[in-house]
Every structure is written in C-alpha cells, then in structure tokens.
C-alpha cells in the first residue's frame, strides 16, 4: 500500500476534516503573517492635536490587525517606530505633512488580501505656553442661538470680562500619534508581554450594579479626557468573605504616575466660603477651560521658596451654573470688606478642596460681593527643584484638576490595592524566552515519545497533534479577544501537556495486544481510552472552575486557557489523533 493512499484515507476521515477546518479557522482568526508587517500602528490620537484636526480618529477596534497603520509620511516609507521618531524629530511649525495609512484586512501567512489606503494632510501646530495675567479684558463672544419664536438662528453677542493671557510659542507641537510596531498577527499581548500600567482598585464600600457602571464610566471618561483610549476598565470580584468589589484598569504602552493618581482619586471637589459649600465639581460646573484657552501658568508666579524648592501657580477658568453663582452671591453679600495692599477684598476667601485636601485659596474682589458671577478662575500650585520642574508640576496638577472637575466625582472612595508598571523591554524579552521554552519543550516531549515507541508512525502524529493544539488554542484566543499574558501561557502549556498525556493513553490503549484483548476491535479499544480521557478531563475542568471565580480575576486567564485548551483537545485534536493513528497502525 503506497503512502499516498494512506494519506488520502486519513484526509477523508471526518474527525481529521474537523481538525483541518479548526486549523483553517484559527489561521483566519490569527491572521498570521510570517514575513512580518511594516509600518507603525496607531494606538491613540491626542485630543486637539494636528492628527485629530486632520480627521484621524483613535482606533475603535481592539483587534490588532484591524488597526490603522501609518506606512509613509511625506512619501517617505515608515517601516519602524525608529523611522517614525526620526521623521517627527525635526518638524517645523506650519509644515504640511501627508500621512499615508493602511487598513489591512484578511492577512494570511504571506500577504494581505485587502489593503485600504488612506491619505491625510495635516499641519504641524505650534505648542504654546499660556500665561494668565491678573489684568482683565472684555471679550465679545458671538454665539449662534436658535430662536424658537422667530424660527431662525440669531447671532447673539455677549461681552465677558476675562483675564488676559499671553501665548508664548515654545516650538512645534507633537503631531499627536501614539504609535507602536505594526502587529503581524491578531494575538493580543497582555500587559506582561507588551508593557503598560495595570491598576487594581478596591471600592471602600460596596455598591450595586448601576453605581458600579457609573464608576466604570467615570474612570473611562477620565482616561479619555486624558487622551488615552487603549484601555481596559472592568469590574472584577473575589468570592470569599467580604465580597469586596474591585475595578481593574489596564493601560497599554504607557506607564505614568499621574495616571495612577488620576484614576484613584474620588475627585470630590468642593469650593467653600467659611464652612459653607459654594459649588462642587461635576454638577455645579458647566464648563472647564482646557489648555490653549483660559488655562495656564499664572504670570510671574514662578519663583524660589527656598534654596531647593521652587513653586509655580496655575489658573484656569470655569463656568458655574446660575444656581451656584447665586449661592456665592448670597454668601458673599453679608461679608465685610477689607483692604489689603491697596486693594479691596471680601474678608473671607473661597477655599478649594479636592478629596478633603486643601488645594488653594481664592481672594474675592470687593466688586464681586453679592454678584452672581458665573465665570470664575480656579488656581493652584506646583513645586519642584527648579523653575522648569515646578512649572511642569503645576501643569500636571492643573490637568488632573481639570479632568476631575469635568468628569465629576465618584460616588464612593476607591483605593489602589495593586499596581503594575511593566517595562516593554521586559515584555519583549519574555516573549522571546517563552518561545524558546515552548520550542525546547516540544523537542523534549517529541524525543521522549520517540524513545518510548521507537516508531515514527506514532511519534509524528503526536507531534502534529501537539502543534495543532497550540495553534487552535491561539486561534481561539484571537477570536474571543483574550490577552495573552504569563498566566495564559502557563495555561496553554498545561493544556498541551495534558494533551500529550492523553495521546499516550490513546496509543497505549489501542496498540496493546498483550492482555489478550485482541478480541476487541479498534473502536472498542478507543472507547476504553476515551473513558480514561473523559474522566481525567472532567476532573481537570472541575478543579479549574473555582479558580476562574477566585482572587479578583488575577488568575482568571490561567483558568480560562486551561479549560478551553483541554476542551478543544478532547473535542477536536484527540479525536483526530485517534483517527490518524488508526489508519497508520491498523493491520
């Protein structure tokens, strides 16, 4: 019998056909490119940046291969992240850049079937340093308002008193892309492997599902306001004792202290006169000025406090609701006026608190007494070892405060219980290392199998099955969008290890002749092997199930991959292995 006919017969087996279909589907899901991918994928677009102005949107999909990839800037090929940075290093203000991007669809082993090219034109914007002056100016603001009685749009011009600002051009602004090497497959690398920040927050008191939703939204919004979109924010639970509620926040690529600070703040902002609350963050505030407008460093406020401590002050404008403005008017109308440095003030100041911590004190000019003003300047300070770092600190504090004021406060206090900042270099090393471990493990297992059976007809199907299992499992992971982290990789190893064990059981059960079982046909012997396999499978499944629910989701990935892996094994690969073995060995 020629080997061709054997292979033909194997390929006609239903169980083998199912395996092949599973492998093809996995290929579709992983979209595996052997030759790699060129260009840099867009992770996020900074708000109001040149890129955002040009109409490029932050990616909405989390599928790695479906993300927009920059392939050329000004017709200059961009192959790597280094290319991108070299190009963007010396840009000039008002320089025009054409950005060529591609959306790749259905990529397989060598190439992509559809390449959707797009070209954007963007202009490099200047970066400003904004200094807010104490002098005020009146600004005419023209708004288009739709008048219902006249049934037409009218231009209404109002005059507003504002603080004057100075704009100093610092240089060209970043064009607003956050990029990473274009992925060459759809496997989602977990934070362990790609680097980033992971924060686990615990709620101080338990809340119901609705409020939890609110909190999750708020945190997401804060991060979005900050310009981060490649994020995961979800609830996780432990199952013992207190039934604590946790929120997991994962931010790929970036790791920064301020972000951790930002999401863990309850964000309870209060402005008080004396003990009376005038207005609070969120509902009393209708508008918060952002960078580029009425927000920046206070003129001449930077300077040394002591030899090693400099401070800088920031200020930014907000608009209050009429109710809050009225409340302020009512409170100030009864207060006496004092004179300081030749200027008249109300004797009490507005004090600002964030999460019950004092931020700053605002003097109120005498002319505002009893006036329901809606425009208010909020101020605060930052410090550092020199003037530059003090200015930076002030700007960072301002951004945080602006974000918190925009998004409002969380209904409960939250605490950081676990933080991980993972270096991308370490992640890269881990991937290489794990691939080496996997390769050597497969070689080692193959050797053991060959030594035990001394028969290629057994060893080769074992190795093929082992590799198929890894591939189908990875395909499944890309399909359902799992993040592959260290725990998930351990799960894959376990699943494949169990798979090899089962194949040994199948081989030994079906090939043994010694115990006078020659009266059993192949099917009956496979059935006996299957009994052991199903029994072992059931115990593994029930052992992993509690782990899925335990420990604030820290080992969920591990439980999930193990369970999926052994299930795929029992349903698909082990069946196919038995079918192949039957054809090859049956006499």
């Amino acid at each position: 019998m020629g080997s061709n006919t054997v292979i033909k017969r194997i390929l006609k087996k239903t169980r083998v056909i199912i395996l092949i279909i599973a492998l093809v589907l996995s290929l579709f899901a992983i979209q595996f490119l052997i030759v790699g991918n060129t260009g840099v994928a867009i992770r996020t677009i900074t708000k109001d940046s040149a890129a955002a102005v040009a109409g490029i949107a932050s990616p909405r999909t989390t599928q790695p291969m479906a993300r927009e990839v920059i392939v050329a800037l000004n017709n200059q090929d961009i192959d790597t992240v280094e290319d991108y940075f070299t190009f963007t290093e010396d840009l000039k203000i008002n320089q025009s850049i054409s950005v060529k991007t591609v959306n790749r669809k259905f990529c397989f082993v060598v190439g992509c079937l559809v390449n959707d090219y797009n070209t954007y034109r963007l202009k490099v914007q200047p970066e400003y340093e904004i200094i807010v002056l104490n002098e005020t100016e009146s600004v005419e603001i023209t708004e288009q308002v739709f008048n219902e009685t006249l049934n037409q749009t009218l231009n209404i011009t109002t005059t507003e008193i504002r603080n004057k600002t100075i704009k100093n051009v610092l240089g060209p602004e970043d064009i607003g892309f956050s990029v990473y090497p274009a992925p060459s497959n759809n496997l989602r690398k977990g934070l362990d492997l790609q680097g980033g920040t992971r924060v686990l927050l615990m709620l101080e008191e338990n809340v119901d599902a609705e409020i939890m939703e609110l909190i999750l939204d708020n945190i997401k919004q804060r991060l979005n306001v900050y310009g981060l979109t490649d994020i995961v924010v979800r609830e996780v639970k432990g199952f013992t004792g207190t039934g604590d509620q946790y929120i997991l926040v994962e931010i790929a690529g970036v790791s920064s202290e301020e972000i951790r600070d930002l999401i863990s703040k309850q964000g309870k902002f209060e402005a008080k006169i004396g003990e009376e609350v005038v207005f609070i963050g969120g509902k009393d505030i209708t508008y918060v000025a952002r960078a580029g407008d009425q927000a920046g460093l206070e003129y001449g406020s930077c300077g040394p406090v002591s030899e090693e401590l400099y401070t800088c002050r920031f200020r930014f404008g907000i608009s209050l609701t009429p109710e809050a403005a009225q409340r302020q008017a009512d409170l100030t109308s009864v207060l006496p006026i004092v004179v300081e440095n030749g200027q008249e003030y109300i004797n009490e100041s507005i004090t600002l608190y964030l999460d019950d911590e004092f931020i700053d004190e605002l003097r109120i000019g005498a002319e505002l007494r009893g006036n329901a003003v809606t425009e208010i300047m909020i101020s605060g300070s930052g410090s550092g070892v020199d003037e530059q770092s003090a200015a930076n600190d002030a700007i960072v504090s301002m951004k945080k405060l602006q974000t918190v004021l925009t998004t409002g406060s969380l209904p409960v206090k939250i605490n950081i219980v676990k933080t991980d900042t993972i270096s991308p270099t370490l992640g890269e090393q881990f991937i290489k290392n794990i691939m080496l471990v996997g390769l050597l493990a497969i070689i080692g297992v193959s050797l053991v199998i060959f030594i035990r059976y001394r028969n290629l007809k057994v060893s080769i199907p074992v190795i093929i099955t082992m590799l198929s299992e890894v591939f189908i499992l990875l395909g499944f992971a890309s399909l359902v969008g799992w993040n592959l982290d260290i725990a998930a990789i351990a799960g894959i190893l376990i699943a494949v290890g169990t798979g090899v064990d089962d194949q040994i059981v199948i081989t030994d059960e079906t090939m043994k002749k010694a115990i006078g079982e020659s009266h059993l046909n192949w099917k009956q012997r496979f059935k006996k092997a299957l009994f052991i396999i199903i029994a072992a499978y059931s115990t593994t499944m029930v052992a992993m199930l509690p782990l899925y629910f335990a420990g604030a989701g820290l080992v969920k990935g591990f439980a999930l991959t193990t369970m999926a892996g052994v299930t795929i094994g029992v349903l698909i690969t082990r069946q196919a292995f038995a079918a192949i073995l039957e054809e090859l060995v049956k006499k």
Binding site: T421, T425, L493, A543
Partner: protein
C-alpha cells in the same frame, strides 16, 4: 447456597490455586530484586508514602507554630513591592550592598533573573508597599538614567488584596478538591478505589506544600495555580491506574498494573521534560515557580500513585475477591 453454586465456587478456587502455582513458578526465576519487592512486599511498601505524608504534616504543623501560616507567602500574597530590572551587566553583590547600606531598615531581597544560566536582569522584592520610589532612587544612583528608561517594571501589591486573594485561593483549592472527589466517585462508583485516588491527590498537595517550605520557596499567586494544576495531573495517572485495574477484567492484576505503570511513566516523562525545560530556561519568576512546584509535585505523585495507590488497590481487590478471606491463605501474597 445450592449445589450448583458450590461447585462453581470450588472450580474458581481451583483455578485461582493453579494461577498461584503458575505465578510462583514463573516469577521466582525471572523477577529482579526490586520487582520482587514491588510485587510481594506492597503492604510494607505502603508505609513509605504514609511515613512521608506523616512527616509532611508534622513539618507543616511546625511551620504553622513558627510563622502562623502553613506556607511562606511571597510578596504577591502578603503585600509588598517588586521591582524588575532588565540589564546585561549585573553586579548583584554591589547592588545588594548599596541597598543594604542606604536603606538599612528595610527587608529587601534581591534575585537574578536568568535564562539558561545567563543573567538577563534582576528582581528586588520588599515587604513594604510604599518604598518602591526609594529603591528606584537608590538604583538611579548606581546606574543613572535607569529611572526613566524602559527597563524597569514595578509591582506593588496591597496586603489586604494579598490576604483576600490567599483566602480565595485556599477556598478555590478546597472547592476544586471537593468537586474532583465527586467526579471521581461518579467515575468509579466504588468507595475504596475512589478514596484511594482522593487520598493520593491529597497527599500530593500536602507533601508538596511541606517540600515548598523546606526548599524555602515563597508562594506566589502563580504558585497557587500550580497547586491546582497538581490536582489535575495527580488525578490523571490515578484514573489511568484505577481504570486499568478495576474496570478491566482480563489478565493478572500485576500485568494490568505494569501496563498502567508504563503508560503513566511515559506521561510523567513528557511532563518532566517540559517542567525541567521550564525551570532552566524560563525567565519569568512566576513561570519558574509554577514549574518548580510541578516538578516537586510530580516526583511525589510518582511515589504516591505507584506505591500508595497501587497498594491500596491491591488490598481492596484481595478483600473483594476473597469474601471469606481467611479460608484461602495462599492468595494473600499475590493479591489476585
């Protein structure tokens, strides 16, 4: 008992006596020393795993008496900080000395991360949750620029989360164990073989935990996962053994055991190879701990399955096949 039944019984007895004779004939010639001990002295052999189990329990109790915990918890279970640094040229003594002299009041441990013996970086662990910044600042003094580089990973774990994770994990292990026991009972439907499997898995875990303590391993979240994996792996070989011995009727019990042993040891060998590769090559401390715990557990499982579980099964079969077992004295040695 009527006459027909009596005759049947007598016939069976004769057959079994013949079997015993044949067995004795063939065995004494070919069997090696270890084989003879393994086949004939199984009742005495059972004492080995039981002694190990007893010693393990004593060691764990001593650990509880000394530390209040039955395992030594790593920073991911007790709370603390870990800083991982990727670096090629590492002078671990220098770093240790520097940290000790500059941060004298802190419990800091430092380990090299290596891949196949080549150092790739190092990891600093501390029990405190708030000294990450300080340690990094000290590292910055040793190697300027490291603070803002891409080579630094920092993890802090709150002790409350560590505690609740540990409670969860213990509960997960207990529930997994109960579920597993139920499944085993459903599979074998007989009390003794099922209990043998469960006892084997239980001793695996207990002895492994004792061994972890002896080797000074500090258990991490990944280690807990490894203990659960161990339940799965341990039960696999036991199910194989029990199925071959209890459910199959053909052939001698010893032959069936040897068949199971051959399959089981091949299974263990493939797992062992993977685990050894993992221990020597893998760089991630989490994976390394998983593999180390699996290696320990695997070795213990080999003893527990092929001595303890085999012994219990043979005792069980012996009792079951000789309802009035005092009458057939010769059968005791063979276990048929």
């Amino acid at each position: 008992m009527n006459r027909k039944e009596r005759r049947q019984l007598l016939k069976e007895k004769q057959i079994s006596n013949i079997n015993i004779e044949q067995h004795k004939d063939s065995s004494n010639k070919k069997r090696g020393f270890f084989q003879r001990i393994y086949e004939d002295e199984y009742k005495k052999l059972i004492f080995i795993p039981f002694t190990i189990l007893l010693v393990a329990i004593i060691l764990i109790v001593m650990n509880i008496a000394q530390t209040g915990e039955f395992v030594n918890k790593g920073f991911s279970l007790s709370g603390g900080t870990a800083i991982t640094v990727v670096a090629d040229n590492i002078n671990i003594d220098l770093i240790e000395e520097h940290l000790e002299s500059n941060l004298p009041n802190q419990q800091i441990s430092i380990r090299v991360l290596s891949e196949a013996g080549v150092a790739r970086g190092f990891i600093i662990e501390s029990d405190a949750q708030d000294n990450g910044e300080e340690i990094i600042n000290e590292l910055e003094k040793l190697s300027p620029g490291i603070k803002d580089s891409d080579n630094l990973s920092v993890t802090t774990m709150g002790s409350s989360l560590g505690d609740s994770f540990f409670r969860d994990a213990i509960l997960a292990i207990v529930i997994a164990f109960i579920f597993m026991s139920i499944v085993v009972f459903i599979i074998f439907k007989q009390a003794s073989p099922s209990l043998a499997v469960i006892l084997c898995a239980l001793s695996d875990i207990i002895v492994t935990i004792a061994a972890i303590n002896i080797f000074g391993i500090k258990l991490s979240t990944a280690g807990i996962a490894a203990l659960l994996m161990l339940i799965g792996y341990s039960v696999d070989t036991d199910i194989l053994l029990s199925t071959r011995v209890i459910r199959e009727k053909k052939g001698r019990v010893m032959t069936r055991i040897y068949n199971a042993l051959k399959t089981g040891l091949t299974m263990n060998a493939t797992t062992l190879v993977t685990v050894l590769v993992g221990i020597f090559i893998s760089q991630s401390p989490e994976l390394k701990q998983i593999f180390t715990i699996l290696l320990i557990g695997l070795v213990i499982d080999i003893i527990n399955t092929w001595i303890q579980n085999v012994g219990i099964l043979r005792l069980y079969l012996e009792r079951k096949n000789t309802p009035n077992n005092k009458k057939i004295i010769g059968a005791e040695k063979v276990g048929e």
